[in-house]
Amino acid sequence: MVQVRLGGTLQSYSGGRSTFEIEGANIGQILAGLGEACPRLKPLLEKGVAVAVDGEIYRGSLLHPVRPDAEVFILPRMAGG
């Protein structure tokens, strides 16, 4: 199980809950699991989010592996100028 934390804004879709225990070996599996655990988050997750794994931000790598003890943080989708 990976401990997954939500950025503040996403918490308003999880009834204020900020931490989830999700089964998954990569980012895609964790996002899918999170969508199962909290269906209201699903449309946001599908629209696209960024995922910080041990402080490194991934915006489009669903297949990136995640160790069970990794720090996983779900962030909004981001872009620059």
């Binding site: 308003s12 879709y13 041990d54 402080g55 489009g60 962030l75 909004p76 872009a79 620059g80 100028g81």
Partner: protein, 756 residues
């Protein structure tokens, strides 16, 4: 092969870090380089766009019959000529051509293509649009009031529980943070809370948007345009026009500046639609006024910041509320502003709330570190005031609270290796920081952060028969990136810099590339170039192994040559890249390296800026006397162009701080859509801008590269405000700090002093 385990890491570079002339330089100093408006086609028509003179109006009807009847007019289009999509492209579709309503002064409502510019202009005057003028709203706070005119009946604030029952101009509410800010404030010795405002500013690229479109009756299209991302232009244009992506080929011209403003489409789908209807090529070039009225400036904002500090300089809590208007559509960069607001600090208790607000202004577009300069302006102003209040040096306070490796960022995750402290120390050690100041002069400091992004990237590197290298990238070169690509390819291949030629290939020649944004090109296209070069090296070694008849893994690549290694070391004379290339046709055909990937871990870049200003106490006019930028580049591939990014961002920030602003009349029309009254800094406004490049390697890149393009615009607004405040003993909380505003504040202070 994991990049971090290759021989290159930790070894000194032979090419990277030098300052060769840029490969596109000659064309650019001789006038030969072709920008957006420099292309023509046989039988070309001239396109023009009719724009709404109203800030907010229902379009009852459009009668274009008289325009269509004008001799020389070959096509007139309106929103009906695009697919009525309801998907994620909806806002872009409606922004490109107004549908039910015109949402801002300058919103496109129709377009024509004619045989000359004069006829096109006359045709526009013959199009009759029946408008029902509606009440409008320009200011961000006004737009949030319950009685404000509503732009979109279907906009219900997201991120609020329970979902609002009434539509509003607030598209979304965002929040970030951790800890207990109330407890943090209770523990503070000094708490400061202030409200700030910034005006909308435009990216101000000197080249107006321009394109040349050609769509044939077979449905195939060609588009030449100035853009930060031609693959993005292709995909969105195809979607709006209902074309197959494969049928549209987009070629990126040289681009005359973008700064984020050319990361979306405006006229490109319009030119394609006109061409499709007219059956002839159509050239469409915006005027400067159109650029200001109809392309994206950044948000205007209203920001409240509260911070508490202990006497020893430890910040105990930080809180901010950000309101950003992003023009007529959702999507202001408030979320990024909220996430970056306190990113420079190691905080136990932090809370940020942001509101994304719509108003009757042009749809905002990304502008260099979108959202970050405004929140940094507010936060860094308060940080300075905290330092003043507890009598601590403005750099020392920041050093005491600076984010570092292992700090949990205010926006959530934990930072890896970052260089904020190094930039602060560089600023403190710089002679600038110790230089004496004269009367009416003040010194300001501010820090800044930007995330930096990677993204989808695809490059192709081909070894030519003469041993030269053709590198095709898909990210438009906006500030010298081709030079950096050549350097990195040359570094890997062990050939000289001038044997590599990099071009920005069209959309049919490479796989998808994300736009040139997020300070990503030297990082992401650079990493793709390195990977492609390593793949080519592998093939070169394989070819040499085959020639020698030894196993592939018994060959190593050193200094541009394949050498037998292991038991065969010295058994054969080395084969140079040139020799292997010459034999390629007879040893298996062309040799190339490719890379398609999604670059991640861009690694944030931090900066500290120092500025001295002098304020004329009788007129309120501020003069920038000295400016120094210290920024972490990870590894500067071409230091001259890194310096250029640092200087350019500082100059844009100075303009934002002092004089740039969108000025609206009570009618909701933009009053200053030109370079005369939208005042970007001119050469005589600025001093030399000193730079210190700090290099804290980014573990996410084989050379340690971090993006550098955006961070440099984050600190200047606050650095300037802090300097003006130091020079005048008045705290400035509104931008721009134009002379009337400054003089007004100085007069108010004099009056208050007189009253005491």
């Amino acid at each position: 092969m994991p990049l971090d385990q290759t021989a290159k890491s930790g070894t000194p570079f032979s090419k990277v870090g030098t300052r060769p002339l840029r490969p596109d330089g000659l064309d650019k100093v001789t006038g030969r380089a072709r920008f957006g408006a420099d292309m023509t086609a046989p039988g070309m028509l001239i396109g023009r766009v009719l724009r709404s003179p109203h800030a907010h109006a229902r379009i009852r009807s459009i009668d274009s019959s008289a325009a269509e009847a004008l001799p020389g007019v070959k096509a007139v289009i309106t929103a009906a000529d695009f697919l009525d999509r309801q998907d994620e492209h909806r806002d872009i579709l409606v922004n490109v051509m107004a549908r039910e309503k015109a949402l801002y002064d300058g919103h496109a409502v129709a377009a024509v293509a004619a045989t000359s510019a004069a006829i096109a202009r006359e045709a526009l005057s013959l199009i009759k649009v029946d408008y029902e003028v509606l009440p409008h709203v320009i200011d961000v706070e006004a737009a949030m009031r319950p009685d404000a005119p509503i732009l979109h009946d279907n906009m219900f604030t997201s991120g609020v529980e329970p979902r609002p029952s009434k539509p509003s101009n607030v598209a979304a509410r965002y929040q970030f943070g951790h800890g207990d800010v109330q407890a943090g404030f209770a523990a503070a010795d000094v708490v400061i809370e202030r409200s700030f405002r910034t005006e909308a500013t435009h990216q101000g690229y000197i080249e107006p948007h321009a394109c040349l479109a050609s769509v044939g009756s077979d449905g195939q299209g060609e588009l030449w345009c100035c853009t930060q991302g031609h693959f993005m232009v292709r995909d969105i244009s195809a979607a709006l026009l209902g074309m197959d992506i494969s049928k549209l080929r987009v070629t990126a011209s040289e681009i005359g500046g973008g700064f984020g403003g050319k990361t979306t489409v405006f006229i490109e789908p319009v030119a394609l639609a006109l061409s499709r209807k007219a059956g002839r090529p159509v050239k469409l070039v915006m005027s400067r006024a159109e650029v200001f009225r109809a392309t994206g400036p950044t948000s205007s904002t209203s920001v409240r910041v509260k911070m508490g500090v202990k006497r020893d300089g430890r910040i105990t809590a930080a809180e901010a509320e950000l309101k950003y208007q992003g023009g007529a559509f959702a999507g202001s960069p408030v979320e990024l502003g909220a996430m970056s607001a306190f990113a420079c600090y190691d905080l136990e208790n932090v809370s940020v709330i942001g509101y994304d607000v719509v108003t009757n202004r042009p749809k905002q577009a990304a502008y260099r570190a979108p959202g970050a300069p405004m929140s940094a302006f507010a936060v860094e102003s308060v940080v300075n005031e905290l330092a003043e209040r507890i009598g601590m040096d403005q750099i020392d306070l920041r050093l005491k609270n600076a984010a570092k490796e292992g700090t949990r960022a205010a926006y959530g995750p934990t930072f890896g290796p970052i260089g904020l402290i190094e930039t602060l120390k560089a600023a403190k050690a710089h002679p600038h920081y110790a230089a004496p100041l004269g009367p009416n002069q003040g010194r300001g400091v501010a820090c800044g952060f930007w995330f930096n992004f990677g993204g989808q990237t695809c490059v192709s590197l081909n070894i030519n028969i003469d041993g030269t290298v053709a590198l095709a990238v898909g990210t438009p070169d906006i500030g010298g990136s081709r030079a950096s690509m050549c350097l990195m390819a040359a570094e890997e291949l062990g050939v000289s810099y001038d044997r590599v030629r990099t071009v920005v290939a069209d959309t049919s020649s490479l796989g998808y590339n994300d736009v040139t944004d997020g300070s990503r090109v030297t990082f992401a296209s650079g990493m793709a170039t390195i990977k492609a070069a390593r793949e080519a090296v592998k093939k070169l070694c394989a070819r040499a192994a085959a020639i020698w008849g030894i196993p592939e893994d018994a060959v190593v690549w050193e200094e541009g040559q394949a050498r037998p290694a292991g038991p065969n070391a010295g058994a054969f004379p080395p084969l140079s890249l040139r020799e292997i290339a010459a034999m390629a046709p007879k040893t298996g055909g062309p040799i190339a390296g490719h890379c398609e990937f999604n670059a991640e871990n861009a690694g944030p870049s931090f900066a500290t800026h120092l500025v001295d200003v002098e304020v004329d106490p009788e007129t309120g006019r501020a003069t920038v006397l000295r400016y120094t930028v210290a920024q972490d580049a990870g590894k500067a591939v071409h230091p001259a162009y890194v310096e250029g990014q640092l200087q350019g961002g500082a100059a844009q920030g100075i303009g934002w701080a002092l004089n740039e602003e969108y000025i609206y009349g009570p009618d909701g029309r933009l009053q200053n859509p030109g370079f005369l009254d939208y005042r970007i800094p001119v050469a005589s406004d600025l001093p030399m801008i000193d730079t210190v490049i700090v290099e804290v390697p980014n573990p996410g890149h084989p050379y340690g590269v971090r993006g550098v393009g955006e961070t440099s615009i984050v600190p200047p607004l606050a650095a300037m405000a802090n300097a003006l405040s130091a020079a005048t003993a008045v705290r400035f909380t509104e931008l721009p700090m134009s002379p009337p505003r400054v003089l007004h504040a100085l007069e108010a202070r004099r009056m208050a002093q007189a009253a005491d």
